[in-house]
Symmetry: C2
Subunit: 207 residues, 2 copies
Amino acid sequence: MLLLEITTSLDGFVAGPNPSAEEPLGQGGELLHEWVIATEAWREAHGMEGGEGGVDDQIVRERIARAGATIMGRRMFSGGEGGWAGDPRANGWWGDEPPFHHPVFVLTHHPREPLELRGTTFTFVGDGIDSALEQAVAIGGGAEVAQQYLRAGLVDELELHVAPLLLGGGTRLFEGHLGDLPQPLERTRVLVSESTGATHLTYRLRS
Amino acid sequence: MLLLEITTSLDGFVAGPNPSAEEPLGQGGELLHEWVIATEAWREAHGMEGGEGGVDDQIVRERIARAGATIMGRRMFSGGEGGWAGDPRANGWWGDEPPFHHPVFVLTHHPREPLELRGTTFTFVGDGIDSALEQAVAIGGGAEVAQQYLRAGLVDELELHVAPLLLGGGTRLFEGHLGDLPQPLERTRVLVSESTGATHLTYRLRS
């Protein structure tokens, strides 16, 4: 059961234009994730109090409870282009205590020793998407990794969190060829957050 | 009050790839509109009996009741590239009785005399989007016309009908620069069709 779960702007971008060291998610890209950061579950996972309940919180709790492991790309691991240059201490992006608390598989052309950080072990996988799939459950992103699995027809479930936002540019989730198309999908759930305006759409891609 | 109301695939396409005379909406493009064609309201407007009630039907009824006029591009009027070549009889796309029954403004570089077809008058507007806006209410499409109004910041309300479908290519609704961005939006409504899997998302773009 492979789950692709990602936040997109209404115009289809999962990161804004012109990413930089200061704005690794591009201009406006951080706005995408406001719905997550507002939740009680996210704050809990980061050792903070407070936060909102409701639909967004439910979604984040599900994600934490459900995923036995996460797959992500090298750039998502390192926090933007050139962020991590082989130095295991340069893990400024996810902090000293990453929020996963389960195995994370990082797809990379430069495998290295696993990195353990307070309950989260990052394992670096160099031999393609299949070997990561034998072990992992949720695709963390970014867009290129998501597209790799979509193209290979390996995604069972697609959950899109549509943030109430136009970014106007940046990295698209859906770009290039994605396999056998057109593909009708079965929509299995819609959850609507009144507080943040995020809309959570889930589709089954494989039966 | 200018309303942009359009059906998109989950991956952001309002028409499929490789449009042709046989498939003016591109490969798979007709699947986008299955939710409309299934409704009682659409069938009524086309002089047919039967059809589905429910959320999709509600949306189509609203559209018919609400729009005092429609704006569309030349290609949407003519049914694809090169469909209408100046011959007022070659209106095979919308048929002898177009479903609008209110004024339709067609943006074109080649204005011609208005065309009246059983309750729908097509007026051809050559002098830009402002003059059409003085008169019209709903933007019918296609994507280029929609983008023109989005870019000009003239759209008050955006209603996206998200069809449960991946097209993988074709014409994107959101392409190129769209004005001041990032732009947070106020989501004003979500309607969920259980029968067709379409999700109807409405956002306010201007207050």
